[in-house]
């Protein structure tokens, strides 16, 4: 990790959401109370992400967070009840950001296969571009207690929605736990790479992970065809859902002329099927 605190962007709010940068000047600055609190909160959350990345959650102390963020102890405890609350807030912010990018990518396509491909590409790109957040969400969350684990389970279930939409395209009835199996498998594959420090290489797994996402739903042949197509594209140096991936990663400038995209609310129902059967 090369960037240092003073020069790097806030990990959790990203350049597009952040109202200002850096520490506010001390004393009377005429800014509203909420505005100041928000800035302090962001700084503490960023400090938590950095500390956990360096020392792990168990070794991170409130004192470290205070030192790193530059807020007072009193302010810290006004914002968070304790270290765990702070961790949970950072986790929630990261998941919101991630799910926002993934949902946007998914919604950008009408058919299920391209939608899954776009969502997965956005997902992997996000992880690769935020290695510290990724480690916090995938690895450290296991060391942060029962409430963190419950959040993790809920976050994982958030992905069922994208997958279960594929039931409509499946040639036969699928077991209820298909999405659970697919997300569980994704998690394990990603967890292994993150643990070994190869988070940056995750986007290269797109063809194989698309195979895994599609195969239980549409069968081996359809999934293998899609995988081969993606492998070919990768070999040619193209990754198809550039716009979606860039959006997810917050790289607005990569998307020419496009307006800032806000995250649409998740639809609760099943995704309408394009045509009768995509398979």
């Amino acid at each position: 990790m090369g960037g240092r605190d003073d020069e790097r962007e806030s990990l959790l709010t990203g350049p597009w959401m952040r109202p200002h940068s850096g520490q506010l000047p001390a004393g009377r600055h005429g800014l509203s109370r909420d505005f100041v609190a928000e800035s302090q909160r962001t700084r503490v959350l960023d400090a938590l992400v950095a500390c956990v990345a360096e020392q792990g959650y168990p070794e991170t102390r409130v004192t470290d967070l205070i030192a790193r963020s530059g807020v007072s102890r009193k302010t810290f405890y006004e914002l968070f009840a304790d270290k765990e609350e702070c961790f949970l807030a950072a986790y929630d912010a990261a998941v919101t950001l991630l799910m926002g990018g993934v949902t946007t990518a998914y919604e950008s396509e009408d058919e299920w296969i391209p939608a899954i491909r776009a969502a997965l590409a956005a997902f992997l790109d996000f992880l690769a571009q935020h290695p510290e957040l990724t480690r916090l969400c995938i690895v450290d969350v296991h060391a942060a207690g029962a409430r963190a684990l419950a959040r993790r389970d809920a976050a994982v279930r958030g992905f069922y929605y994208f997958l279960d939409a594929g039931r409509g395209d499946a040639p036969r009835a699928l077991p209820g736990l298909t999405a659970e199996a697919v997300t569980g498998g994704m998690y394990e594959v990603i967890y292994g790479r993150v643990l070994r420090g190869s988070t940056a290489d995750l986007p290269r797994l797109l063809p194989e992970l698309v195979y895994w996402a599609l195969m239980p739903f549409l069968g081996h042949d359809t999934a293998a065809t899609e995988m081969e197509r993606l492998r070919e594209q990768q070999a040619n140096g193209r990754s198809p859902p550039v716009a979606a991936a860039a959006r997810a990663a917050g790289l607005q400038e990569a998307v020419d002329g496009e307006q800032l995209v806000t995250v649409p609310p998740r639809r609760s129902g099943r995704r309408p099927k394009p045509g009768d059967s995509g398979a």
């Binding site: 077991p175 659970e180 199996a181 394990e188 594959v189 292994g192 195969m215 239980p216 042949d221």
Partner: protein, 212 residues
């Protein structure tokens, strides 16, 4: 561990009485730590709890184990060894059956063990994540081993058309399914999920003829 001395009562399998007695004691501690940690959680567990569940003395415990973690890890390894042998022998016994059926028997065997010994399943699937970095590594190794186990049928059924990575993913998916049920005390239901678990990817992978 004392070097087993040769005696006339040595078991036909080559295990001396001393070793057998030692193993029985360990076995008792393994069951105790599994029961205790699925009851009160590994993190909250003290050696005193293990002693209470085992009905054994502290002295015996420390003759056999260095500490709580050592006991846990040995229990985990012993359980995994048993699972590996049972599942592996099922696979080899069913050599003449179609691939999908063979795999189904193996998964069924695994689920049956979990259902029959829920505390051991809890130790191997749930507590292992809370028992420190070494335990976590053992779990990761075990998953990699199961993935390698699926690699053979995968290549037999699909050759190069299915990525090797899918074995890792399938094992991870099955693990997630086990974890959720075992953590909620629903290990007994697992055998009834065999068909669903097969149809959630693993079956499609190994059944090259069954595709619609």
């Amino acid at each position: 561990m004392p070097i087993a001395h040769v005696n006339e009562n040595a078991d036909a399998r080559g295990i001396s009485d001393d070793d057998l007695a030692l193993w029985r004691k360990k076995e008792r501690f393994f069951r105790a730590i599994a029961a205790a940690s699925s009851e009160i959680g590994y993190a909250n567990l003290a050696v005193a709890d293990v002693l209470r569940y085992a009905g054994m003395s502290r002295r015996t415990f420390y003759e056999l184990f260095e500490d709580k973690e050592d006991c846990f890890l040995q229990a985990y390894d012993a359980a995994l060894l048993r699972i590996r042998m049972l599942v592996g022998s099922t696979y080899h016994r069913a050599e003449q059956l179609p691939l999908r059926r063979r795999i189904e028997l193996c998964l069924g065997e695994l689920l049956a063990i979990c259902a029959a010994e829920p505390e051991l399943a809890h130790l191997c699937v749930v507590d292992v994540l809370a028992a420190g970095p070494v335990a976590r590594e053992r779990r990761d190794e075990a998953l990699a081993e199961f993935a390698a186990f699926i690699e053979h049928p995968r290549s037999e059924a699909r050759g190069t058309t299915a990525p090797r990575l899918v074995c890792e993913a399938i094992v991870g998916g099955l693990y997630a399914i086990l974890y959720r049920r075992v953590a909620r005390g629903q290990a007994a239901q697992l055998p009834s999920l065999l068909g669903e678990m097969m149809d959630a990817g693993l079956g499609q992978l190994v059944d090259a003829d069954g595709e619609v």
